[in-house]
């Protein structure tokens, strides 16, 4: 019996022809397709940033709106949440339920802080005095920046929110007394999703935010 098959049996996972649990293959396939989804959104934002670089005849300097300190803070928070998630997966594999619970809780808290930062950021952008960035305008002039920016970062935020609810589900389940190493794969799949949300932000933060300061 191969190592992978032995591991599958140990965690009560069905043996498959690929040697990888079907759920996990499905999640990786989904993440691959989600890459295309975010790739399209990021491309759209960058293309429109390039071809619609002016507003009212002047260069659109979005740094007047961005709050890079806040976004940097939320980036650190999301990176830290990924550590908690990795440790939660590690803990459930070891059968340490208490540690799993705490690590899931940490991930949820940090994910929620990230979401709160995003809600604050969006509200701040829309109501920034003199620099209002809405879905269709910037400083009252029609512009596409708001559309591509809010759709991209909003879609990412929605992914984070879904991840938080998913983790909340696992945290609640951990208190039912039914959670064991048999659920290690399910928590790991949840972790894959969470890390994916993290790597999407790893691209969004420099490409959408920091690049504005480099130009």
């Amino acid at each position: 019996m191969s190592d992978a098959s032995a591991h599958a049996l140990e965690h009560h996972e069905p043996v498959t022809s690929t040697g990888i649990p079907n759920k996990k293959v499905l999640m990786w396939a989904f993440l691959g397709s989600d890459c295309m989804f975010f790739g399209t959104l990021i491309s759209t934002h960058l293309i429109y940033r390039k071809i619609s670089a002016t507003v009212g005849g002047n260069f659109l300097d979005i740094r007047d709106v961005f709050d890079i300190e806040l976004t940097s803070f939320s980036t650190f928070i999301l990176l830290a949440s990924s550590l908690f998630m990795a440790l939660a997966v590690s803990a459930i594999h070891k059968g340490n339920l208490n540690s799993t619970r705490w690590m899931l809780f940490g991930t949820i808290v940090f994910g929620s802080i990230f979401l709160a930062c995003q809600v604050y950021e969006f509200t701040h952008f829309v109501h920034a005095p003199g620099n209002e960035l809405t879905l269709s305008t910037y400083r009252g002039e029609p512009h596409v920046f708001g559309s591509t920016f809010y759709v991209l970062t909003g879609t990412h935020g929605t992914h984070v929110a879904i991840g938080v609810f998913w983790l909340l589900g696992w945290l609640a389940y951990s208190f039912t007394g039914k959670m064991s190493t048999a659920h290690a794969l399910d928590v790991e799949i949840c972790g894959l999703y969470w890390h994916f949300v993290d790597i999407v932000w790893i691209i969004i933060f420099p490409v959408i935010y920091l690049m504005e300061y480099a130009m």
């Binding site: 992978a4 591991h7 691959g32 960058l46 293309i47 071809i51 890079i68 980036t75 059968g95 300061y213």
Partner: protein, 227 residues
Amino acid sequence: MSGHSEDPVAEESKRFFTFFNLSMFLVAITGVEIVIIYVKTFESASIIGVLFATSIIKFFGVIWWFMHLKWDKILNTILFLMGLVIALGTYFAVIYMADSHPVVEKFEVAKIEDAWKADHSYQASDYVLQGEAYFQARKDHISNKSFEPKHWKKVVGVPHAITFRITGGADMIEINSKNPENPYFHLSHPDGDEEIEESTTALLASSASTADFRIKVRSEAFWTEVQ
């Protein structure tokens, strides 16, 4: 792509330090990104290059260790990279499409105020100002000593010369008046030449200047607009 060791608990304990170290590394790299933006002692191209490199390092750090690709079968890596390659392909294809963009080097709209001249060569459709009225030449001719009405047709309105120079290629040029009471619309489809320099005339209801017009130039996916 190693398999799992015989003791999964010992294996997971070893990974704890890997995850922690990786996390600290990711935080440090993100810190470097923010610092080089704040310090801003490098050129934009260098900063963008560094951001690009650090993003790739962080990206692969997360998928390789946090997402367990290092320890998983290669099928998972292939599945994910397929989506990633298609996403990157889409990005570079669209960037390429938008890269060649037209530039309006010159765009001028000016009232024609050339007075009729004796012994001058005129071509059909040329406009002249004779007294208080505008006239348009009926055919090519050389003027005599005095103005001959048979060669000219009086026009109602104010003729204007519209000149533009476009570089970077264009397959559609649209010029229109911003004033609805002084309407004008011009649409042409050049062959996509790299440099286009043209002059055309427009008979308008009243006097206008460049500020009263806008020109839009399209090259493939790229639109340039000058108002």
